[in-house]
C-alpha cells in the first residue's frame, strides 16, 4: 500500500504542470530566440518602410488608377519568423504614406467584411473563405464589389529584403490589375524619407550631398583644451622636481576638409591661455586628421578621427618654471617672485583620437611629446613608444561653426 502511494506521488510529480513546463535551458533558448527576433525586426522595419516609400513614390509618378479609387488593404505579411508587431507597423506606415500622398489615387477604405472569414452555402456547396476571396458574397454582405484589394508581402531572402505588392479587382474573376516587386539589401542604408515629401533614391542622394555641401569644406572650430603633465619618475630621476600644473588653452582657427566626405581634414589654430598670477601663453597648432569610421563623415552617427600634429607654445608666468630640464625647486620659485618670471618657448608633437558628433561637437584626447624636455627632471612620461616619451596627456572639447 505504501509502495503504491509512493508510486502515485511520483506519477503526480512527473505529470504536474511544473514538470511539463520547459526546462530552464529551453526557456533560455526561447528567450534568446525572441531577443534575436526582436533585434532583427528592429533592423528590418526601417528597410521595409523604405520599400513602402519607394512603392508609394512609384504610384505618385505613375498612378495605377486615373482617378481616386477606393482600395482595401487586404493583407500585409512580414518575413516568416518575425512577429505580428512588425506587420502592424508596416500596415500603419502604408496607411500614413498613402494618406500623405493623395496623388497616388489610392484611397484606403475600411472594409471589415473583406478581411473577415465568411461562410457561404449554395447549390455548389459550402465555401469558407476570406471576404475578398469571394466577391459575390461580399456584394451580398455590403456591396463592396468594384473596389480593389491591395496585398503587400515583405520577405527576407538572404541579404535581400523583398517587397511584393499586387492590386486585385474585387469582381468574381478577381483579376490582378497591377503587381510590383522591390528589393533592397541589408548593406543599403534606409533613406528615411518624409511621408509628405517622397523622393527617388537619386533625389534623396542629391539632397544628402546638398546637405554636405551646405557645410562647405571649411569650418571654424573653437576648442577648449587642457594639458596635464606626468609626474617625474622618482626611480629614474635623482632629484625629481615639480611638474607644471594643468594648462588650459582656448584655441580657434580653420579646419579644412580635402573633400566633402571629410575623410582627410587639416586644421590650423592659434590659441591663448591666461590664468592670473600663474601663467599666460600663446600657441600655434597644425593638425592632420584621418577618418577611421566609414568612408565619409556621417550626419547621423558619431565619427572617429585619428589625428597627428605639432604645436609651438610660448608661456610665461610663475607656473611655467617647470618647463626646463633642471629641477624646479622652492628656492627657484622664491627667486622668480622677486625677479623676472620665467618664460619658455617649446615645440611639441601630438597624436590622438577625436570623436565628432554631427561634425559640430568634438571630444578628443591626445598624447604629446616635447622633445626639448625629454630629459627634464620636472616631468616624467605617461607612456613611451619606440623610445619616444609622451609627457603630456590632453583632453579637448571642440565646437565647430
Amino acid at each position: 500500500m505504501k509502495a503504491l502511494f509512493t508510486l502515485m506521488l511520483l506519477a503526480l510529480a512527473v505529470l504536474s504542470p511544473t514538470a511539463l513546463a520547459n526546462s530552464p535551458a529551453e526557456d533560455a533558448q526561447l528567450a534568446e530566440l525572441e531577443r534575436a527576433r526582436a533585434e532583427i525586426a528592429d533592423q528590418v522595419h526601417l528597410a521595409a518602410f523604405d520599400l513602402i516609400d519607394e512603392l508609394a513614390f512609384g504610384w505618385n509618378r505613375a498612378p495605377v488608377f486615373d482617378t481616386p479609387t477606393p482600395v482595401v488593404l487586404a493583407g500585409v505579411t512580414v518575413p516568416v519568423g518575425l512577429g505580428t508587431g512588425l506587420a502592424a507597423m508596416v500596415e500603419n506606415h502604408i496607411a500614413a504614406v498613402l494618406l500623405e500622398n493623395p496623388t497616388t489615387n489610392i484611397q484606403l477604405v475600411h472594409c471589415p467584411s473583406c478581411t473577415a472569414v465568411v461562410v457561404h452555402s449554395g447549390p455548389e456547396g459550402t465555401v469558407v473563405s476570406r471576404g475578398y476571396d469571394n466577391p459575390e458574397v461580399l456584394a451580398e454582405l455590403g456591396g463592396t464589389t468594384g473596389q480593389h484589394a491591395l496585398f503587400v508581402d515583405v520577405e527576407a531572402e538572404g541579404k535581400w529584403l523583398v517587397l511584393r505588392a499586387r492590386l486585385t479587382r474585387l469582381t468574381p474573376d478577381l483579376p490582378i490589375v497591377w503587381s510590383h516587386t522591390l528589393t533592397t539589401s541589408s548593406g543599403t542604408p534606409a533613406l528615411l524619407r518624409q511621408p509628405d515629401d517622397l523622393k527617388s533614391a537619386a533625389e534623396a542622394r542629391e539632397e544628402y550631398l546638398d546637405t554636405l555641401h551646405d557645410r562647405g569644406p571649411i569650418t571654424i572650430p573653437v576648442r577648449f583644451a587642457v594639458r596635464t603633465f606626468a609626474q617625474p619618475d622618482a626611480f629614474f630621476t635623482e632629484n625629481p622636481g615639480v611638474p607644471p600644473p594643468p594648462f588650459a588653452w582656448l584655441q580657434t582657427g580653420v579646419e579644412i576638409g580635402a573633400t566633402d566626405a571629410r575623410v582627410w581634414t587639416s586644421s590650423l589654430l592659434i590659441g591663448g591661455s591666461f590664468i592670473p598670477q600663474a601663467y599666460q601663453g600663446l600657441m600655434g597648432q597644425a593638425r592632420v586628421s584621418r577618418l577611421l569610421t566609414g568612408r565619409s563623415r556621417s550626419l547621423t552617427r558619431p565619427d572617429l578621427y585619428l589625428f597627428a600634429g605639432g604645436s609651438v607654445m610660448t608661456m610665461w608666468g610663475l607656473a611655467t618654471g617647470s618647463f626646463q630640464t633642471e629641477p624646479f625647486t622652492s628656492d627657484a620659485i622664491i627667486l622668480a617672485l622677486t625677479g623676472q618670471p620665467p618664460r619658455t618657448t617649446l615645440g611639441a608633437l601630438h597624436l590622438g583620437l577625436d570623436l565628432r558628433l554631427g561634425n559640430r561637437i568634438g571630444f578628443s584626447s591626445f598624447l604629446e611629446t616635447m622633445p626639448s624636455l625629454r630629459n627634464s627632471d620636472n616631468m616624467g612620461d605617461y607612456t613611451r613608444v619606440l623610445g619616444i616619451g609622451f609627457q603630456t596627456l590632453g583632453m579637448e572639447v571642440t565646437v565647430c561653426f
Binding site: 534575436a36 516568416v80 508581402d153 527576407a156 538572404g158 541579404k159 499586387r166 483579376p175 568612408r295
Partner: protein, 212 residues
C-alpha cells in the same frame, strides 16, 4: 614588445577582412554572410570608390571582388527547410514563371491561377504571392481566384498517392467548372518533406502536366 605591437597593428590595417572562417572570424559568423563574386568592372559600378579601377592595359594580377552582406535573418531563427525555400524565393518563383511563360501561345493567352502545396501555410502564401508577381512580370494574365473542390472530392483525392492525386484534382477542377476553358492553373508543389525543390505542374482543361 613595442615593435611586435606595431607589427600586429600594421598587419591588422593592411590585411583585408576575409569572409571565410579563420583567425578573425568564426564559422558561425561566416555562415551569416551572404557573399557574391563580382568582376572588378561591376563592383566599381555598384560600389564606386571602394575598389580600385582596372588599369587601362589590364591589371598585373588577377583581381577578384567578393561582396559580402550580413543575412537579414540569422540561421536558426526559421525552420531549415523554410529558410532554404524563402532565402531564394525570388529565383525560384522566376524559374516557375519562366517555365509557364515558355509554354505555347495558346496557354499564354489564358488566365493563370496559382496554387501552392507546402506544409507551412505562411510559406505557401508567400510562394503563391511571388509566383503570381513573376507571372505578371512575364506578361501573363493572372487571377487571385482559388479553384475549389467539394468535400467528397477532397476526401477521395487526399487518400490517393501524389502521382494520381494531382491529375485527379485537375480533372475534378475542370469537371466542376471551377477551372474554365480559358483558365490555366499553375501548381507549385513540394512533393517530399526531405527536399527543398519546388516542383511545378500545369492543369489546363482537365489535363495535368508536370513542368519541372
Amino acid at each position: 614588445m613595442q615593435i611586435f605591437v606595431l607589427f600586429v597593428l600594421t598587419l591588422m590595417a593592411t590585411v583585408k577582412p576575409d569572409p571565410a572562417p579563420g583567425l578573425f572570424r568564426t564559422k558561425t559568423a561566416s555562415a551569416e554572410l551572404d557573399c557574391e563574386q563580382l568582376t572588378v568592372a561591376r563592383a566599381n559600378q555598384e560600389r564606386p570608390g571602394q575598389i580600385g579601377e582596372a588599369r587601362p592595359r589590364g591589371d598585373y594580377v588577377d583581381r577578384r571582388v567578393v561582396v559580402c552582406s550580413e543575412r537579414l535573418i540569422s540561421h536558426g531563427v526559421r525552420p531549415v527547410r523554410d529558410e532554404a525555400i524563402l532565402s531564394t524565393l525570388d529565383a525560384r518563383a522566376d524559374e516557375v514563371a519562366s517555365a509557364a511563360a515558355a509554354l505555347g501561345p495558346d496557354l499564354q493567352s489564358r488566365t493563370w491561377l496559382v496554387e501552392t502545396y507546402y506544409p507551412s501555410v505562411q510559406v505557401a502564401s508567400k510562394v503563391s504571392f511571388a509566383a503570381k508577381n513573376s507571372l505578371m512580370e512575364h506578361g501573363l494574365t493572372v487571377s487571385d481566384r482559388t479553384p475549389i473542390l467539394g468535400f467528397g472530392d477532397l476526401d477521395v483525392i487526399t487518400r490517393m498517392p501524389a502521382e494520381q492525386a494531382y491529375p485527379a484534382a485537375c480533372k475534378r477542377y475542370y469537371a466542376t467548372g471551377s477551372l474554365g476553358e480559358q483558365d490555366a492553373l499553375l501548381a507549385v508543389v513540394s512533393r517530399d518533406p526531405r527536399e527543398t525543390i519546388l516542383h511545378a505542374g500545369l492543369c489546363s482543361r482537365g489535363q495535368w502536366k508536370w513542368l519541372r
